[in-house]
C-alpha cells in the first residue's frame, strides 16, 4: 500500500464541471489534513473542447505537479485517448460504463479499467446528468478508501446555502452510491490510499491570483482597476468580490490604458493603487507607465504572463515578459520589477511591492504567470502571519492632505513636489491642502512641478539625476537571490517566478540521486546590487538557468549586469508549465559534463 502520495487527473469537456469538481476534491483532501497541489488546463472556449484538472497529494508541502498519474478520471472518451500514456502501471482509469473505451488496451498497459454506472447514479439518484462529475470524483475517493465525509462537507458548503440543501442532498446521494460501488468492486485492486490526518494543522487552499489579492488587501491597497485578460482576470474578480468587506474601490475600465491611468489618478490622490493585466494589456499600458515614472507616482502593476506574441496561447503559461517589463516605456525612468514564485510570495512580496512603490515613489511591476495564477496550493493557515505585513507598512515621505498639523510643520518654506533632495525622494503631499497647491507634469518639469517650457539643460540634468538616484538607493534595499538547498553544490539551478516550485523539486530529486544541487531564486529582478549578485554566482561552480521562455531571459539579464554566463539554460516555451521530471530530463547533458 502507498499512503498519501498520489496524483489524480480529471478530464472532460468544458461545461462538465472539471475545474469545480477537481478543485472541490483538492479542498476536501486538504480538509483531511493532507497537502495538495492542483493545476488546471483549459481551452479558450466556454463549452466543448478538452479540459483537465490534476491534483497531487502528499503529507508534506508540495509546489509542483508530476507528469504521471495514478488515477485518471475520464468524463469523456477523449480524456482516455489523450491521457492514458500518463497513467502508471497499477494505476486506474475511472469512467462511465457507457463510454466507448477500449478496456483491453488499458489492461495491456497494466492499468486497471474501472467502468462504473456513474451516469445512471447521477440521473437516478441525483436527477441530473450534470452530477456525473460528483459521481466520478466520489468513485475515486472510493478506490482510495478516503473518508467520504470530507468531500461531503465540500458539497454542503458549495450547494448547501443556495436553495435549501436539496441539491446538496442529491449530490451526496450520488456520491455515496458511486463511492460504495467503486470501493466494493475495485478498492482491493488499487494500491494507493488516502488516510485523513485530523490532527494536522488546519489548511487553506489558495491559488496565486487569490494570494496576490490577499497580499494587496493586507497591505492597504484600496483601489484596483483592470480590464479582463486571461490569466489576470481572476485577480480583478477577487478584488471585486472583496470590495464590500474591505471597503475597496474596484473598477473595470474600458481598456488597459485607462486601467493604469485610473491607478495613477488614485495613487496621485494618496491611495495605494494597483492594476493587473497580462502581456498584451501591459503593452497598452507602457505609455502610462512612463508617465508614472515621470510624475514619480507609486503604484503596483501586476503582469500575469501568458505566451505571446500577440494573442499567443491565451490559456497557457509562459515566463516571457521579464526583459519586456524591465525595459518597457519611452525614456529612462526608475521602476522596480519583482517576480513571484509561490503562494506565500504572492501574499508577502506583493505587500512589499506597495512599500517599495511608496518609499521610492515609483511604479513596481509584479510578475506572475498563468501557472502560478491558477494552481492551487495548500498552506497551513497559521503560517500566514499578516502582522508581518500590517506592522511593516512603509508609505515613505507621504503626508496626506487631511494631516493638517504635519503639513503646517513640513511646508514652512513652501512646498515643492519635486524638490531636489539628496536621495532623490521628495515630500509627497497629495492635492487637497491649502498650503500644498501644485502641479505635476509628465513633461519635464521644475521642482515646483510646472512644465519647464524653456527646456533648460541644467534643470533636465538635475531632474534626471534626481529620478534615477532613487533607483541606486533602492538597489541596496532589494532582496538578493534566495539560496535553497546545500551551501556548497556542484550544480546551482537559477530560477525566477513560477519555475521555483518545479525547480525546487528537481533539486530534491538530483540531491537524492547523488548530484549535490542547490537553487538560487531571484525574487527581486530590478534594481539589484549586482556586485553582490556576482559574488553569489561566482561561488557557484556550475549554474544553469531554468525558465519558462525561449531565450533564457534571466540568464541574459544576469549576463548584462555581471558578465557571468550560465553553463546552460533549461527553457520551456510550449505553453505548458515546467515540472521536475522535465527539468531533470533537460539537465542530462549538463550532468554529463560535471
Amino acid at each position: 500500500m502507498i499512503k498519501n502520495d498520489v496524483n489524480i487527473k480529471l478530464g472532460g469537456e468544458a461545461g462538465q464541471g472539471v475545474e469545480s469538481s477537481g478543485m472541490g476534491f483538492a479542498r476536501a483532501i486538504a480538509r483531511a489534513g493532507l497537502h495538495i497541489f492542483g493545476v488546471q488546463d483549459y481551452m479558450s472556449r466556454i463549452r466543448g473542447g478538452h479540459n483537465w484538472y490534476q491534483v497531487r497529494v502528499s503529507e508534506r508541502p508540495i509546489f509542483a505537479h508530476e507528469p504521471q498519474v495514478q488515477i485518471l478520471i475520464a468524463l469523456d472518451e477523449r480524456t482516455v485517448k489523450e491521457h492514458l500514456d500518463e497513467v502508471v502501471e497499477g494505476g486506474a482509469v475511472i469512467y462511465d460504463e457507457g463510454l466507448k473505451v477500449d478496456d483491453e488496451e488499458i489492461k495491456l498497459r497494466g492499468i486497471i479499467p474501472m467502468p462504473l454506472p456513474l451516469l445512471r447514479f447521477a440521473e437516478e439518484l441525483g436527477g441530473s446528468k450534470l452530477m456525473l462529475n460528483t459521481a466520478a470524483v466520489a468513485a475515486a475517493a472510493g478506490i482510495l478508501e478516503f473518508d467520504l465525509s470530507y468531500p461531503e462537507s465540500i458539497i454542503r458548503d458549495s450547494f448547501g446555502r443556495r436553495k435549501g440543501s436539496e441539491i446538496a442532498d442529491r449530490n451526496i446521494r450520488v456520491a455515496n452510491a458511486a463511492y460504495e460501488e467503486a470501493r466494493r468492486r475495485f478498492a482491493y485492486l488499487f494500491e494507493w490510499k488516502l488516510e485523513a490526518n485530523p490532527d494536522a494543522p488546519k489548511k487553506m487552499v489558495i491559488n496565486g491570483n487569490q494570494a496576490i489579492g490577499v497580499g494587496a488587501i493586507a497591505a492597504g491597497c484600496k483601489f484596483c482597476c483592470g480590464y479582463p485578460m486571461t490569466p489576470a482576470s481572476s485577480l480583478l474578480e477577487f478584488m471585486f468580490a472583496q470590495a464590500r468587506r474591505f471597503n475597496l474601490v474596484v473598477r473595470q475600465a474600458e481598456d488597459e490604458i485607462s486601467a493604469l491611468l485610473h491607478a495613477i489618478g488614485a495613487a496621485h490622490a494618496g491611495v495605494r493603487a494597483m492594476t493587473c493585466t497580462s502581456g498584451g494589456g501591459f503593452s497598452l499600458m507602457v505609455e502610462a507607465l512612463s508617465l508614472a515614472g515621470s510624475t514619480e507616482t507609486p503604484l503596483v502593476l501586476v503582469v500575469s504572463q501568458r505566451p505571446g506574441p500577440a494573442t499567443g496561447l491565451p490559456t497557457r503559461t509562459e515566463q516571457g515578459e521579464l526583459l519586456f517589463t524591465i525595459f518597457a516605456g519611452h525614456g529612462e525612468f526608475p521602476r522596480a520589477v519583482i517576480a513571484l514564485g509561490s503562494v506565500e510570495q504572492c501574499i508577502f512580496e506583493v505587500a512589499r511591492a506597495f512599500n517599495i512603490a511608496e518609499r521610492y515613489q515609483m511604479p513596481v511591476i509584479v510578475l506572475t504567470d498563468a501557472f502560478l495564477a491558477n494552481s492551487l496550493r495548500s498552506v497551513d493557515i497559521d503560517s500566514i502571519d499578516f502582522r508581518k505585513i500590517t506592522e511593516n507598512i512603509d508609505r515613505g515621505k507621504l503626508i496626506l492632505p487631511h494631516e493638517n498639523d504635519k503639513i503646517e510643520e513640513a511646508v514652512k518654506d513652501g512646498y515643492r513636489r519635486f524638490e531636489f533632495t539628496e536621495d532623490g525622494i521628495s515630500l509627497r503631499i497629495p492635492p487637497g491642502h491649502p498650503k500644498a497647491v501644485y502641479s505635476v507634469a509628465g513633461e519635464e518639469h521644475t521642482p515646483e512641478g510646472f512644465i519647464d517650457w524653456e527646456e533648460r539643460m541644467d534643470n533636465r540634468v538635475r531632474m534626471m539625476q534626481k529620478r534615477m538616484k532613487r533607483l541606486e538607493i533602492a538597489a541596496n534595499d532589494m532582496k538578493l537571490p534566495e539560496l535553497h538547498g546545500p551551501e556548497d553544490a556542484e550544480l546551482t539551478l537559477v530560477c525566477w517566478g513560477s519555475s521555483l516550485g518545479p525547480t525546487l523539486e528537481a533539486m530534491e530529486r538530483l540531491n537524492a540521486n547523488g548530484v549535490r544541487t542547490n537553487l538560487l531564486q531571484f525574487i527581486d529582478i530590478h534594481p539589484l546590487n549586482w556586485d553582490s549578485v556576482a559574488d553569489i554566482l561566482s561561488n557557484s561552480r556550475n549554474w544553469v538557468s531554468v525558465e519558462g521562455n525561449f531565450s533564457g531571459q534571466l540568464a541574459r539579464w544576469i549576463r548584462m549586469n555581471t558578465g557571468l554566463k550560465p553553463m546552460a539554460t533549461v527553457t520551456r516555451y510550449d505553453g505548458r508549465p515546467l515540472n521536475p521530471v522535465y527539468i531533470v530530463e533537460h539537465l542530462q547533458e549538463v550532468l554529463a559534463k560535471i
Binding site: R31, K203, M204, I206, V214, I217, A218, A219, K222, F223, C225, Q242, A243, R244, R245, F246, N247, V249, R251, A253, E254, D255, I257, S258, L261, H262, A263, I264, G265, A266, H268, A269, G270, V271, A273, E287, A288, L291, T295, I381, F386, I389, T390, L400, P401, H402, P430, P431, G432, P434, A436, V437, Y438, S439, V440, A441, G442, E443, I451, W453
Partner: protein, 294 residues
C-alpha cells in the same frame, strides 16, 4: 463639499506666464475658468485640473490650483481615478479636440456613461496647433492643412451629438470669444451633479484661418435666446446638435439632473473619501478572510 465664500481672481494668479500666441482663444478659456471659480467661491486647493497635451493643456500651469499635465489623450481616466480616491475635490479636465475626440476617444465615450462628477472642458480649435497645423477630428470637410493638402476627405466629429448618444448628463458648447458667457457655462457645468461636457470653440489664430473669431461671431447664437428651447428635451437637443452652417448654436444643449453619480453608487465612498481610509485593514478582518479558503 466645502466651499469658501471669498475667492478672487488674484487668488488664482499663477506665477507662470502663458506661452500661448497673442490672440489665442485659450486666453478666453483661461479667463472664463477663473471667473467660474470666483463666481462659485472655489479656492485653489479644492480644485484639481487634469490636462492632456497641446496648447490648451498647458492651462493648469497658468492658474493657481492643483494641476496634472499628463499625456496626449489621457487625462480623462487619470481624473476618474483621482476623483474616486478624493471625491470631495472639484475635478476639471481641460484638453483639446485632438486629445479627446482623437486619441482619447474611447476614454471619452466611457466616461460619459459613468456620470462621474467631473467637469470636462474641450478646447476645440478644429486644428492641431502645437504640432503646427495638421487637420483635427473636428476639422470641417475640405479643410486644407499640412496633412490634408487637398482638403480633408473625412467628416468631422460632432461632439455634441456623440455626447448625447453616449449618455452625458450635461452637454454644452461655448465660445472663447465670449469669456463671460463661457464662465457661466463652466460654472453651471461644475455645479451639475455628474459628468459635464463643455466643448469650446477656440480660434487658433495661426493655423486655422477658416474658423476665426469673425467666422464664429457671424454664426453663433445662444440657445436660451429661443424661449421655446428646453434643454431637458433630448429630441430638441439632438436636432440642435446637428445645426451647422450659417447659424451655430452655443449654450446648454442638454441637461439631465437627478441621475446618480458614479461615486454615489460605490459603497466604499459612502462615509469619507478613499484617501482618508485607515490602512492596513484590521487584523481580525484579515484573519476572517483566510476562512474563505478553508
Amino acid at each position: 463639499m466645502m466651499v469658501a465664500t471669498q475667492v478672487t481672481m488674484r487668488d488664482l494668479q499663477s506665477p507662470v506666464e502663458p506661452t500661448w500666441c497673442p490672440g489665442c482663444g485659450d486666453y478666453g478659456i483661461l479667463n472664463a475658468v477663473k471667473r467660474a471659480l470666483v463666481q462659485l467661491g472655489i479656492p485653489p486647493h479644492q480644485v484639481a485640473f487634469f490636462s492632456g497635451i497641446g496648447c490648451g493643456s498647458k492651462l493648469p500651469d497658468y492658474i493657481r490650483a492643483n494641476g496634472f499635465n499628463s499625456l496626449h489623450g489621457r487625462p480623462v481616466p487619470i481624473a476618474q481615478g483621482f476623483k474616486l480616491a478624493h471625491h470631495d475635490m472639484f475635478v476639471i479636465v481641460v484638453d483639446g479636440d485632438g486629445d479627446n475626440y482623437g486619441i482619447g476617444g474611447n476614454h471619452w465615450l466611457h466616461v460619459m456613461r459613468r456620470n462621474i462628477n467631473i467637469t470636462h472642458i474641450v478646447q476645440d480649435n478644429m486644428v492641431y496647433g502645437l504640432t503646427k497645423g495638421q487637420y483635427a477630428p473636428t476639422s470641417m470637410k475640405g479643410f486644407v492643412s499640412s496633412t490634408s493638402p487637398e482638403g480633408t476627405i473625412e467628416w468631422p466629429i460632432n461632439p455634441i451629438a456623440i455626447a448625447l448618444a453616449a449618455g452625458a448628463t450635461f452637454v454644452a458648447r461655448g465660445f472663447a470669444g465670449d469669456p463671460k458667457y463661457l464662465a457661466d457655462l463652466i460654472a453651471k457645468g461644475i455645479q451639475h451633479k455628474g459628468y459635464a461636457l463643455i466643448d469650446v470653440f477656440q480660434p487658433c489664430v495661426i493655423f486655422n484661418r477658416i474658423n476665426t473669431y469673425d467666422w464664429f461671431r457671424e454664426r453663433v447664437y445662444k440657445l436660451e435666446d429661443d424661449p421655446n428651447y428646453d434643454p431637458h428635451d433630448k429630441r430638441m437637443a439632438w436636432e440642435k446638435a446637428h445645426e451647422w452652417g450659417d447659424r451655430i448654436p452655443i449654450g446648454i444643449f442638454y441637461i439631465n439632473e437627478g441621475q446618480p453619480t458614479l461615486e454615489e453608487q460605490i459603497p466604499a465612498l459612502a462615509e469619507k473619501p478613499l484617501y482618508q481610509h485607515d490602512i492596513p485593514p484590521k487584523l481580525e478582518d484579515l484573519e476572517s478572510l483566510k476562512l474563505i479558503f478553508v
